[in-house]
């Protein structure tokens, strides 16, 4: 994949995308501005998923649990313990790290279809636990984080996360860090080992690499990124709900990544943007919008079998990371 690729071109492209997103903050109408902030957070979730699915080839059907770990890690911290926003976000990361380490240790004993099923089952356990501990979690109705709880005090500076610009910028910073981190990871030696595992795990092991340790590291990094997205979602949008732990939110990042292009760094953003806008636009015209979405997806699979950026890279832009 990296053969003949140009690091300068790749980094330039990513910086240009971040710059474009920064400029959009000033020119987008209010609704699209708010929607894009949400998309950036969910694209971060998709990037976390892509790291494991796209680069290691591990298809998880339970990544909602990592998103939910961050969502509840931050949300419950604020709601029950009055944690400040930065501490709550750190709590989200810690929850994601611990959960992904434990799940990784257990689930990586399997592979292929069994890995899908085991991750889905663990995610179901977490989703049902959220419902079971309803007095603490708010159950299926969820919890609201009040506006005054979503304010960051940095000395004399006050950052109100309910302010649309502040919210967008925080979402963009998170997205940018994770995007550049993903790019750095996949271009690193570690990233190449992950791709080697995806292509031929036996051969990688024969070459002397500890594939289990590398896969475990990938699960933890992926889990922490997803938890960061979950934590950011809770703190930026003020709602913590069990629906984000449901199987639907395990399928969605898979769909976003497949649409945008698995194992492409920018694919998750493209896929999330595409799905959000196709639902948003078509639902304005008909209640049968899911039918249109379905047809669009079939067309995409037919004409862009490797996702939008994956197919672009295969046919025209070979250097695309």
């Amino acid at each position: 994949m990296m053969e003949g690729s140009s690091p300068a071109k790749a980094y330039l492209l990513h910086v240009a995308v971040i710059a474009l997103l920064f400029v959009l903050n000033f020119i987008l109408p209010a609704y699209h501005h708010g929607l894009l902030a949400r998309i950036l957070v969910l694209a971060t979730f998709a990037m976390g998923y892509n790291l494991l699915f796209g680069y290691v080839g591990l298809l998880s059907l339970g990544h909602a649990m990592f998103f939910a770990a961050g969502l509840y890690g931050a949300g419950l911290g604020v709601h029950h313990f009055g944690l400040s926003v930065p501490v709550a976000f750190m709590a989200a990361l810690a929850c994601g790290a611990v959960l992904s380490l434990v799940i990784g240790l257990l689930a990586l004993r399997t592979s292929g279809v069994a890995f899908m099923i085991v991750t889905m089952m663990f995610a179901q356990v977490l989703a049902l636990a959220i419902l079971y501990f309803a007095p603490l979690t708010g159950g299926d109705q969820g919890l609201v984080l009040q506006q005054q709880e979503r304010v960051v005090h940095l000395g004399d500076t006050v950052l109100d996360l309910t302010n649309p610009t502040a919210r967008y910028m925080v979402a963009l910073v998170l997205f940018s860090i994770v995007l550049l981190l993903t790019l750095a990871v996949v271009r690193s030696r570690f990233g190449r080992v992950l791709i080697a595992v995806r292509e031929n795990e036996e051969r990688t092991r024969m070459l002397g690499y500890d594939t289990f340790a590398n896969k475990l590291a990938a699960v933890v990094i992926s889990g922490v990124i997803c938890a960061a997205a979950g934590g950011a979602y809770a703190l930026l949008f003020g709602y913590v709900g069990a629906n984000f732990a449901s199987v639907q939110y395990s399928i969605l990042p898979l769909l976003w990544v497949l649409l945008g292009g698995a194992a492409t760094t920018l694919g998750p953003l493209i896929g999330t943007l595409f799905m959000y806008y196709i639902v948003d636009i078509t639902s304005g015209y008909t209640s049968a919008y899911l039918l249109i979405v379905g047809i669009a997806l079939i067309l995409l699979v037919l004409f862009f079998p490797k996702g939008i950026l994956g197919t672009l890279r295969q046919r025209w832009v070979r250097w695309l990371p």
Partner: protein
Amino acid sequence: MTDRQGFFDLSKKGITRRTALKGLVATGSGLVAPGFVRYSQAQSSAPIKIGFQCHRTGIGAAYGRWYEKTTNAAIKLINDAGGINGRQVEIVIEDDGTDAGRGAEVVGKFANQHKTDIVYGTLFSNVVIGSAPTAGELKIPYYVVSEGYHVASGKLNRYCLQPGITDVRAQVTSVAPWIAANAGKKVTMVFPDYAFGYDHRDYLPPALKNAGAEVVAQIAIPPTESSFTKYFPQIPAETDVIYHVMVGPAVLTFVKELGEFYGSNGPKLFGFIDSLEAVDVNSPGLEYLNGSHFWEGAPRYAQADDSDAMKAYRAAVGIDDNGASTSDANDVSTAAHMFGCWETLYVIKKAMEDSGYKGPEDRAKLIEATEALTEFAEGPEHPQGKKVFNGKIHQVFGSQNISKLEGGKLTVVHKTSIEDGQYEPEADYTTQAL
């Protein structure tokens, strides 16, 4: 014909080639991307726009469809009568997919893209709670028809109101005295093991205790359960009445298995009609419910003593004497809840008129005007009955109906008083800044 004004002269100062190109690009962009068009501020003669957050798809779709029919019927009458403050009312519908995340986006879309004056009409609690922060941040009044205790509990914000339907806590509290007096003193509760069930779990026992009865067992059924027989042995033998609030398609299996378990010697049954909204009570498998009692917000079946207002409401919405669509007898309505849409719209009308509402700049005045309302008299605008509104907790209280299922129909046997359901408020939204 000469071009005296120079309209077509691109060399004329002020309209350069570049300006013309910019204009063309801007116009073209506007045409191909209607979603990006900035809508102009509502003029005084322009319609008042109400954003209807509708469950058109997802688990709440059956409710959403009837909420939409009720809304359209009420808006037609309001517009035929001259609208609100002399302006016609336009309903803008967005589907939230009964999803909390999408719900919040839809509220943002109403406020920032459609530029609606308010948002209205949400039923499912998770969508209401998920959308409330966005409504509060955007300072757009959010009138829900949800019956959840979430508004009255004070955990939302000042922009969230429920002025058209009584909340579950009050419903449960108001039916308890009748259960104690007529169904039995020892009650076993069967409820879904999630938040909707918890309102019943938490508020029925104290209400029954006040009425001289007691809850002898509480059986929470996990939401993923598809067979219920294994739970029935947990029902104590001393049980006089089973209080059930099962929701969703599982209710058919629940009732069938309960009938098989007890045969003809079981305890009495008291249920909430929520489980059978949009479902024909004469459906195969529901025979065991015959002779049992149900809570109904508004009666599904036409009653002998229906007021003229109730008759007019049913005719306007298009439901027959059996509570089904007048155009399709198999299309059963969600009559117990959807009246809340009708009544909420008339409350909005009243509050807009009281506040002299002109546009989004008057949203705070609209909230204050709604909070100042105290009573709604029974009549064409409130066909379900008289209501009392508590402006501090943004919650309305009305009478509830207890109906008996007999001969394939639900007949109202008792109407609770408003006072039966009222409780001590636990919040005061009016202390929050607007």
